[in-house]
């Protein structure tokens, strides 16, 4: 195949080859590559009409919120609630913290249950300032916390109507803020769950403890991220300072402005088509098993004659190196060839005994199963790392091509091809832990019969293999020194890359369809939400609109 490329076989021949490769093992898989629409064929320029399945159409738009704009982003949501319910900012904040910054939810509860219900659920009591003044006399009152008599202006009445002295309020606020409860500081009265007015908190605490006020404001601001199911901190280390906001709370993967891609749902690395649970179990397993895998490595012994590593094959402890030297597995000493049930003739280390290992057979099978998936996963992850270096090399190629090219002006096919390779490789590597769990006993023990499982596993592995074959071809073509070739050969490489990209894109789609429709849909046992396949790759978060970021920042 490699030869074919270099010798410049005709496009048609090549295309047939690719096509055949894609269909190598299964004639049912049809790959819809329309050569006439080559602009779309690599899947990177999106066709106008999206695929009809929701699997591919889900397109949560996400925004990156830089730390300095956090306040502006929060204000935007506050403003919507303030406008709708004619509330002050701190009241709106109380509502939004309670409803986890879900503005739609606040609107819906308001529409369904009315203002009173909406407010009382969130511990919000809104009194007009007139009420407050009339009930707040300037007479002396006894504070029910410290039992001291204080004048009216040394005490404060909260929205709920409870009145205590200012120094008690202050102490209470400081204790709560230091406990990290800034978001919901309730009244001091027993069984009064009304949230204290944040302006009063600021005013009273700032008298003696401006640093605590700062802490309070920081907590309130961070609540916008920590209590908000649509906003998450970017998990980059060291932290880039950004947060990401998604418009719909779907399972999706996002790319922060700092370049880190992550699963929005669990904040770990992007791991589709693994579900979050599978990925969590898998990373845990990889940690736990590293010992055991080591054990396997340790249990490769070296031949006492030629020093080649020898793996044990079968239960018998008399092993034989390819050089022909037999030796005792247990002590590693050279022996003769004949043995009985429990001795090797002429060998006296005393450890040899046949059959003992059989108990461990089952555990070993499990371990080998894991090792198989792990090696596949690891292999593709490693390739991914190597291929990441390809990016710079390709950039150089583009520069060379741009300088000498006559006909070709647009070299986006190089970068597109690279992106396709990178994306598909990553999907392929994460498809192994997925397969480990879907066809294993850990999560879906009773999900399918043994026979069903076998059929589905064959189907899935078939798809993985087709995908892998195309990825390897794409990788190979991209690595070729096509920048040094004549233009007609470059044109041909371009065709190959575009076609292979398209085929690969389609195979990825099919893999996800198989996962969604054939594998997960019939399983009842757990809800596994998988970030949908995006032909364009993980969505890059866009910056918040300028209008928003220009609005007032820095609240204090």
């Amino acid at each position: 195949m490699e030869e074919d490329y270099k010798n410049g076989s005709s496009y048609d021949e090549y295309y047939d080859n690719v096509y055949a490769a894609a269909n190598d093992d299964d004639d049912d898989v049809d790959v819809d590559v329309d050569v006439d629409e080559e602009e779309y064929v690599d899947g990177l320029q999106e066709p106008e009409v999206e695929t009809n399945r929701s699997l591919f159409s889900a397109r949560p738009t996400c925004k990156v919120i830089r730390k300095k704009y956090l306040l502006a982003a929060q204000k935007e949501d506050l403003q919507r609630v303030m406008d709708l319910l004619s509330l002050k900012e701190h009241h709106a904040r109380t509502l939004l913290i309670y409803y986890r910054w879900d503005v739609e939810k606040v609107f819906n509860v308001f529409a369904d249950r009315g203002k009173e219900w909406l407010y009382s659920a969130a511990g919000l009591s809104v009194r007009s300032s007139k009420d407050l003044n009339s009930s707040h006399s300037s007479n002396e009152v006894t504070c029910q916390i410290c039992f001291e008599d204080v004048s009216g202006n040394e005490s404060t009445i909260m929205d709920c109507g409870h009145c205590f002295c200012n120094s008690c309020w202050t102490e209470h606020f400081i204790v709560k803020i230091n406990e990290g409860q800034s978001r919901r500081i309730t009244c001091m009265a027993h069984k009064c769950y009304s949230i204290c007015d944040e302006e009063v908190i600021r005013r009273l605490v700032s008298v003696k403890h401006p640093d605590v006020v700062e802490k309070f404001d920081r907590f309130l601001l961070e609540s916008y991220i920590e209590d908000n199911k649509r906003v998450k901190w970017c998990p980059s280390i060291p932290h880039c300072g950004n947060a990401i906001r998604v418009e719909c709370d779907e399972y999706c993967e996002v790319e922060c402005a700092c370049g880190v891609q992550f699963c929005f749902s669990c904040s770990s690395e992007a791991h589709s088509p693994c579900s979050c649970l599978m990925w969590k179990l898998w990373t845990k397993k990889c940690q736990d098993e590293s010992e055991t895998v080591n054990w396997v490595t340790v249990n490769t012994k070296f031949c006492p004659k030629c020093y080649k590593p020898v793996e044990k094959n079968g239960g018998c402890n008399l092993v034989c190196c390819i050089c022909g030297q037999p030796f005792c597995w247990l002590c590693g000493g050279a022996t003769g060839k004949s043995h009985t049930g429990n001795t090797i003739q002429g060998h006296t280390c005393g450890q040899y005994k046949e059959g003992e290992v059989e108990d461990a057979e089952c555990a070993k099978k499990q371990l080998f199963r894991y090792t198989h998936y792990y090696n596949q996963f690891k292999g593709h992850t490693d390739s991914l790392k190597l291929e990441a270096k390809l990016k710079d090399k390709l950039q150089e190629k583009i520069v060379i091509l741009e300088a000498k090219s006559q006909q070709l002006k647009d070299f986006s096919w190089v970068t597109n091809g690279f992106n396709r390779l990178f994306r598909s490789r990553s999907i392929l590597s994460y498809s192994y832990p997925f397969a480990y769990y879907v066809f294993g006993d850990d999560l879906f023990k009773n999900g399918m019969t043994q026979k069903e499982r076998q059929i589905k596993q064959n189907l899935f592995e078939d798809q993985q293999q087709q995908l892998q074959a195309n990825i390897e071809k794409l990788s190979m073509v991209l690595e070729e020194p096509f920048a040094d070739w004549e233009e007609k050969d470059v044109l041909q490489t371009r065709m190959k890359i575009i076609t292979l990209s398209g085929v690969t894109d389609n195979l990825c789609k099919k893999l996800y369809e198989c996962i969604d429709n054939d594998l997960l849909a019939p399983l009842q046992e757990a809800t596994h939400n998988i970030a949908p396949y995006r032909s364009m790759g993980v969505e890059k978060a866009s910056e918040l609109p300028q209008s928003l970021t220009r609005s007032k920042i820095g609240g204090q």
Binding site: I145, C168, E171, I174, V175, M188, H190
Partner: protein
């Protein structure tokens, strides 16, 4: 810093109507942050007739943080550890309010004795017994009350006698015994630390 002025007032307030409530709070030694509360076992419960001592430690943030309370008297109750005396009661945790006092907290503890909440147990063994074998539970609780919560059956004069024999002046013994509500052990503790 514990608001000592408030604690002082609380103690006065509480001990003023001790005849009515039966709830008593007194300082352990001289510090106002380590106290002992006593509550009578509620009538009509297996705890009736017992006097239960509760160790109280006031955290620095008191009254803005809840007091720490622990039964010093062994008690058989689903929400109280039979080992450590730890109490599972919401107002001693997140439902605490600075508007509550040691007395109201002790009243809540007393109410807990009358109305166990086996669904939120502190002592799983006791809770299981409470749910499955009411009779055994009542008998055990009653037995524990007899064994641990009834201060010695000595009369006042006998207590005075005993303490005087230990070398304390009679008038001081009498006033101390009175101050701690007749508990000879508490009185001894106080006399020794004086």
């Amino acid at each position: 810093m514990v608001d000592l002025a408030r604690v002082q007032k609380e103690l006065q307030e509480c001990n003023r109507d001790v005849e009515v409530s039966g709830i008593r709070v007194s300082p352990k030694a001289d510090s106002l942050t380590n106290l002992v509360g006593t509550i009578p076992g509620p009538l009509g419960t297996p705890y009736e007739g017992g006097t239960f001592k509760i160790d109280i430690t006031l955290p620095d943030g008191y009254p803005f943080e809840p007091p720490k309370m622990r039964f010093a008297t062994k008690v058989w109750h689903p929400n109280i550890s039979s080992q450590s005396g730890a109490i599972c009661l919401d107002i001693l945790k997140d439902q605490w309010s600075p508007a509550l006092t040691l007395k109201t907290a002790l009243l809540s503890v007393q109410a807990l004795l009358s109305a166990p909440e086996p669904d939120d147990p502190q002592d799983a063994v006791v809770a299981q017994q409470y749910i499955r074998e009411q009779n055994t539970f009542v008998n055990t609780a009653r037995y524990w009350t007899e064994a641990f919560a009834k201060t010695s059956s000595l009369g006042v004069e006998e207590k005075v006698q005993k303490l005087v024999e230990m070398g304390f002046p009679e008038d001081i013994v009498r006033s101390t015994l009175e101050a701690v509500g007749g508990d000879e052990n508490l009185a001894l503790e106080k006399l020794c630390s004086a």
